[in-house]
Symmetry: C2
Subunit: 710 residues, 2 copies
Amino acid sequence: MSQSLTFLNPNSVAIIGASKDPTKRGFRAIQTLLQEKFAGAIFPINPKEAEILGLPCYPDLASVTGEIDLALICTPARTLPAMVQACGEKGVRGAVVLAGGFSEAGEAGARLEQEMVTAARQFGVRLVGPNTSGMFNTHKACNLVGFSNLQPGGLGILSQSGNMALSLVTEGQINGHMGFSTYIGVGNEADLQFSEYLDYFAEDEQTKVVIAYVEGLKDGRAFLDSARRACLKKPVVLYKSGRTEVGQSSAKSHTGALAGSYGVAKGALQQAGVTVVSQSDQILSVAEALALLPPPPSKRIAILADGGGHATIAADALTEQGMLLPRLSQETRERLAAILPPAAALANPVDVAGGTDANPEVFADCAEVILADPNVDALLIVGLFGGYAIRFSETLRAIENHTASRLGGMIERFEKPLLLQSLYAPMRTEALVTLRAAGVPVHESVETAVRCLVLLAEYGAARSRIAAATVPSAAEANAAATSIITNARQEGRSSLLEHEAQALLRSYDISLPPSVLITTPEALAQARQQFGDVPLAMKVVSKDILHKSDAKAVQLNVNGEAEMQQAYAAIMDNSRAYRADADIKGVLATPMARKGGVEMIIGVTRDPQFGPIMMFGLGGIFVEVLKDVVFRSLPLTAVDAAEMLDEIKAKAILGGVRGAPPVDREAIIDLMLRISRVCQAHPEIVELDLNPILGYADGYALVDARMILG
Amino acid sequence: MSQSLTFLNPNSVAIIGASKDPTKRGFRAIQTLLQEKFAGAIFPINPKEAEILGLPCYPDLASVTGEIDLALICTPARTLPAMVQACGEKGVRGAVVLAGGFSEAGEAGARLEQEMVTAARQFGVRLVGPNTSGMFNTHKACNLVGFSNLQPGGLGILSQSGNMALSLVTEGQINGHMGFSTYIGVGNEADLQFSEYLDYFAEDEQTKVVIAYVEGLKDGRAFLDSARRACLKKPVVLYKSGRTEVGQSSAKSHTGALAGSYGVAKGALQQAGVTVVSQSDQILSVAEALALLPPPPSKRIAILADGGGHATIAADALTEQGMLLPRLSQETRERLAAILPPAAALANPVDVAGGTDANPEVFADCAEVILADPNVDALLIVGLFGGYAIRFSETLRAIENHTASRLGGMIERFEKPLLLQSLYAPMRTEALVTLRAAGVPVHESVETAVRCLVLLAEYGAARSRIAAATVPSAAEANAAATSIITNARQEGRSSLLEHEAQALLRSYDISLPPSVLITTPEALAQARQQFGDVPLAMKVVSKDILHKSDAKAVQLNVNGEAEMQQAYAAIMDNSRAYRADADIKGVLATPMARKGGVEMIIGVTRDPQFGPIMMFGLGGIFVEVLKDVVFRSLPLTAVDAAEMLDEIKAKAILGGVRGAPPVDREAIIDLMLRISRVCQAHPEIVELDLNPILGYADGYALVDARMILG
């Protein structure tokens, strides 16, 4: 699919709305292309001019004799349908539409946007924007956005904010990061969408990592599919903004109310292999580290420091984020002892204790020894390296540079990531520039260096998980379930009654406690017989009574037939008192669930961005007060489900606390997978709540099930 | 007390161990003092040299005729006791001891350190160090640490790591932050301690904010006292490292096991008004912002942006950290509408929508309008300001500078903080330098700017709280409680039995359910009568059976005399079976607590750094699994207690969830204050656990009380 976007790598560009006015984009774009020596042809288009900046100007596209790969359209919104048509007729494959005044500006604009897209589809033109800051492709020297001093490199940017792109480019220039490949300002996504650009970047050889700044996704589902493919080839680093916006307001169920949140986006994106960065000031550093370094096989990190302060900060930050600081092997410690002074710390962190002051090459000797240790997956060097010539003696400059080259070579040799934090990083000393050129990321902040390592490890794990995953096969709807849904719809209901929801789940071999819908007092005796002598729960079944407890239409621990009669009468009386005209189907009786289970909740909702999403959490206070829930998009794999159980903060409770046995993980994972298949098979189920589920050492009990139809 | 440390502001310095070897500190220190034009006298001391760097060299201190305020001692550890004595005899008030090889290097070193301190006390010399990187005082041009290019300014540094100080100074230089006043490397704190330096900084007029890098405090209690005083005068910004170290291993109780953690330090330090920074890369930015800006009266922040991206990131970050984005008043919006183009966003964030492109002074016009709004406590400007001359047109340079000056004047005029984030911050453009000089902090990172605002608001709140607090009066021990403790000790016990702990608490008017210690089966009937017809809890009282449940020595819901007899017998039998030789005092009977209470835990422990510390949390799973607990040092004020209730993550539960009424806050706060007084009155109680406490809408029930004696 990326083949259709070859115009993003153009050999010729037309500037529609070219201008002689230096304040206009139609002038500045041409000026920039000329200054930066765009290798292809430039065709200014303007019927009123004969030449601009020494280039012949054409009255229209049709007058151009050569081929045009890409058009930058600088004319106002109202001209766009005609301009796009002209592009199509000329055979221009893609156009970048700068103008605003489309769907972002109200209804008239939205109609104009639709008209433009219709023209684009009809005449075979793909559109970037409208309402975009533009694009650039440094490897073609094609800068159609006007950022200055662009350095070519491996960072691709996909952004919903032109200023954020400018911010990243400026930060990269100032701090001497890796350069950039292609930038695309997605604008209104009238035609081309995030997912399609992502597919393009995944194939683009110049791009080593994709950076995405996302405020909202028009089609999150397509983005997840593209991300899953892309992350097998290169990392996708994403910052999601707008994360404190109020969620879906129209949610009808508990699950719905909690969805639409940053948690949903984060869960779904990480599931698809995306590296989600939570601080905007770490985007570029993380992207560069992921572009340069191989992910570590696991989380065992060694620290090499020339001072206790930075070593301690790094150790704290790594530990707080779940990384491990393994003890170095006996052999490693002996080898380090032979290199370092007696006061050196040979545990992990390794502190050289002045052992590098006179000879910074000792860093390289130590790094070699540490990286060779099979207990170590990655090395973080913190402190003063890169500033020895400044701090200690100018005579150390050459040694420091040589050390930097040696360190650089170690990443490939040991196939392990190596990062360096230096308080001299912003000074971009010779040694640090050498180090970066040799592929070692250099950071000023210990916290940022640590974050890079953590996300690198997570990227490696996600990539392996996705590479190994088999996509769950499409689930087929069974006849029993379909007829339950059809029946509810025929009765004009948008939700299933509890016994219907139960029957539907049973039809997919999901285990539920036995239950009987009792429609007359006479049927009580038979129900009693069926269940044997166990306490029962009884509750009203009525589409008009959603909050059964409020209506006092639930009776628990009902024993024996006499109590059943009383409970039945009470439920019917209370229900009628609560709502006289309620359509009551009957009373559902079911044995009380075993005591001692762990309350859990599984919910499915349709997220406006990501489609069907499953939520998992512990029930009751954990979900209501602590919002301790995690999300994944459907369909779910077994690994996804297992990760969800491990991701909640209170996960220790599933493992058994206060002498309780662990919850039957396999059974819960199996339930989640079955629910995923149910929702796949029946897209008409738009919300589903299993709340609570009681988890036991052996199996679980589904105490309540609700389903809402779309 | 700070008067005794006037030597940190010296007019004359002796260098003991002065040297002609350029690699030696005894040479470099003199070289630096000369280069940087130290205003006072410099006395090199070395019996083997006649002059060093053109200065006459003295064989010993006694040979110097002038007064010496401060000695920098560069000689090896073993010489120190004699050198310190010589200082005292010469009347030198303070010495900076560089040498290592003292208490950090084992027992012999510790003895040497003690000998040196003894000499110091005897001869009236105060010591910085030993094992310190040194100190500087820029306002005297007295640089005894050898950092280069020190800029004088308002930032004072107190650090346990020389490299961290170097890191801060280097960062400040590179990024153009406010300069530094005095740095002290505390070293081993053999004599002078953190708290004393803090007192000095609090009084030092050159220091506007104190930065402390702390790995561990020898006397945390004294530090808290100093911090409480200091924070009324200036902010104290502290980074605590070593926070993932394993806590106290010898803790005997539940509370003890959770203490000794970063949570304890954070709770106690923030209580004392310290601004605790959790990321090392934000220390300097936070310190500068707190030095420059008045704290906002409350948390209502306005954002002014020239692009949607940064505005959204700032809004997210502020909201996530509890700040409020108020709606601007009608008047403000009308005034902004008159300044900005129609597409501008006039809610909060305010987005100028290109309205500043041609004239950045519009920023100043908007800022003026926004700061005048009574709904706004502080303003954060984000985006491109400072880079308009680069991004748009060189012709804007003068306007941009003028705008910067105008913005600077607004802080004082409106008495509200104003911060600016600019993606051009690292370029230190003219406008940004002007802005900083005018007192407006400039940040590259949106997240850092937001963090500064959050911590500024917290500092303001803490300062007001501490200024208003009356120190709890000393609590006196009552005779009943003292005799209970004396009795336990006489019996050779290091813990109180439950009925003793209850009696002790009752003697301080703490409400407990009635209880009776039953020592013979015959006494059961009387107990029954005393309680009336309510279900009882009965449990063994024995110093030898700490885990009563494990011993099956607890019986709950005991009704009527017959059941009491059975329960009594069972408890005695089970206790003997559990431990045949157990010293059993009897069985404690108490009415069962009311149902429906919220389980809480209050604990007191002695932290090795901060002394008596109270922990508060919700009981059960919240404390065991989620570690949702907060800490404060004792004595506690009512405001401290109220903050503790509000600081736990699950605080909503105290407010009443799932239809439950709110817990009686006043009663719980009263209990916490009484417990604080008990522990003040009886320092021999080293650990105390009230677990669980059941909180009700009216009052609470203390179900279990444990006390450990020191």
